[in-house]
Symmetry: C2
Subunit: 336 residues, 2 copies
DNA sequence: ATTAAAAATGTAAACGTTAACATTTGTGTG
DNA sequence: CACACAAATGTTAACGTTTACATTTTTAAT
């Protein structure tokens, strides 16, 4: 593989000139530029980015740490990061954590090891580096969705309390009074906030909370299936279900159908996320749209800000959400 | 940030000993090892991976190039690559191509630039580097799903012809004689092969092909919706639809339901991929399982083989597929 | 033609490792 | 207690860039 020295030799110039031709073309005479480019072409030279990184002390790469890619919310976020990264000539490395602290920390070593300039995290855990950070300066890490207020670092998330409260408020506007809830992973701050929002929404409407119709597990469709099963078996009365994800909601609808319950005639189901499948559900799913790609995009922008001014980037961005009415929710028939 | 020199100084040894303590611990006396590790701990030293890469001429990273991440087949493949990569201490970089040749080639520069040791591709296009490769030696690139027989490079894919032929054969066994087909992107070799398989399956059963009930576009659910609409409007007779992806199938079922057609009573629908949502469809989707994570895993293994013996890795792996019977297909009622 | 300033190019150090090779220290044997 | 040999450690040259600084060439003004 040809290196910069080979090009310099063939073009009859110094390596500095070759480097300049590539990085600061305006500083080199057109005639020289031409010679150099011909040599580059001839030897099909490609800059060794590793050497470049080492010298520049900058990798032009970020790592995005996520528990897995099966979830389309997660995939969307990664895609969002990639979009903005690419626009800015930055490469994206993928770090799968499986929800394990150890793997998350291992991924951070890439930024400690200068292989990446920063990290974007969507995970249950918080990198130890942030927790042990005594420098007083924020690290180049952006936390998404999950957050602890005390943490010194840029973050982007949704207003989870309001998201769930609005879900309830919408169902209440359809006269529902007995609203069940299926949460995602309760270990997540995000999930706890949504539960708070759920209770808040109920109280805002002057309704009491029936703890027996609050179920949950994680965000997968299987959870929707199992939790709904449990809900039905509980014998408690409920006419609507708020689900913390569309996957859960889809699982719920599936199980209700198997139990001979009609959605939305018998039970209204409301999801969150607005995944691509939501609108093609049977029935099409009413949901609160949470664009995960936007989270990724904003997180990446925040990281870009960080390089310009670490302090200025140390802030929280709260993204908008939006209720999308489809066919899985309906006015409660009187008498129910 | 502390470097190896700082550690050497603090521990009172040479930098070589520090490096050895990290890479070849058995070669250093326990007492020395202890001193070094204490120094590392104290200064919270982390190896600069960029410098390490430069010196070793190895990045311990691969890049996986895909059109996007919205598709769960694609996400599964990436996840598969990551699994095997992580087991082997290799990092994964993400390259989104948007189906553009230029972006694909740009991503290849990472391996040309030594920032990645190899590339795994799932895309419409083939990297120019492979096409222009006159070296006679295969490059560290693994092509997945798409393939051209002439190409000199490792590849992993499904037996697409057989996949579609079996889909047809299964429907024929349920007495269907008028089978429609909704393809994905016809620009893909994979899609063309599946179409061939579809025709082959029909001919094997002694049936003729009705070109008027072959539709398609891409692999998204929207295609299923639109193509099914067109199929219905065509007025042609068909009692079953073979879809090139589960997303298409889900879209088809959705549209059939809207048109008042029952699945599977009126029309049988068969998908491909076996995505997570398939079994929770309404009705649960009969499909041919194509595990994309396996494709990713095998592709990564092939790349690992490449480093051991480039020639030996230059082969094609064909992964198994499996028909999964659920509720979206049924015996054709006599008289239809 | 001379000269000052600007433009273009060159020289060489630095980025932080790894590993080949050289040297020192330790161990066991006759 | 030499001696051979093994084990442990040290020295130093890469790896391929970028960039501060030094030097040369060009340009324009007198």
């Amino acid at each position: 593989m040809a290196n910069i020295k080979d090009i310099a030799e063939l073009a009859g110039v110094s390596i500095a000139t070759v480097s300049r031709t590539l990085r600061e073309p305006h500083k080199v005479k057109p005639a020289t530029s031409k010679k150099v480019n011909e040599a580059i072409e001839k030897l099909s030279y490609k800059t060794n980015l590793v050497a470049s990184s080492l010298r520049k002390q900058k990798a032009d790469a970020v790592i995005v740490a996520v528990p897995d890619l099966h979830n389309s919310f997660v995939a969307g976020l990664v895609q969002g990061v990639e979009n903005v990264a690419r626009e800015n000539g930055i490469k994206v490395m993928l770090g799968v954590t499986e929800g394990k602290q150890e793997l998350l920390d291992r991924h951070y070593e890439m930024v400690a090891g200068k292989q990446a300039d920063g990290m974007i995290v969507l995970d249950v855990n918080t990198p130890s580096a942030i927790i042990n950070n005594t420098s007083g300066k924020p690290l180049p890490i952006v936390l998404t969705c999950e957050y602890e207020a005390i943490l010194l670092c840029p973050r982007v998330r949704f207003d989870n309390i309001e998201v769930a409260a609005e879900a309830v408020s919408y169902l209440v506007s359809l006269d529902h009074k007995n609203v069940a809830y299926i949460s995602g992973s309760r270990t997540l701050r995000m999930s706890r906030d949504r539960q708070s929002g759920f209770r808040l929404g109920l109280r805002r409407a002057g309704l009491t909370v029936n703890e027996n119709i609050i179920a949950g597990g994680d965000y997968r469709i299987e959870t929707g299936v199992e939790a709904t099963q449990a809900l039905i078996e509980s014998g408690e009365k409920f006419t609507a279900i708020v689900c913390e994800s569309d996957e859960i909601a889809l699982g719920a609808i599936h199980t209700l159908a198997e139990a001979g319950l009609q959605v939305p005639e018998d039970i209204s189901v409301l999801g969150m996320d607005n995944i691509r499948f939501a609108q093609y559900g049977n029935p099409p799913l009413t949901t609160i749209a949470l664009k995960s790609s936007q989270v990724g995009e904003q997180a990446m922008r925040l990281l870009l800000d960080y390089y310009l001014d670490a302090e200025a980037a140390n802030r929280e961005i709260i993204l908008p959400h939006q209720l999308i009415e489809r066919k899985s929710t309906a006015q409660l028939l009187s008498g129910k």
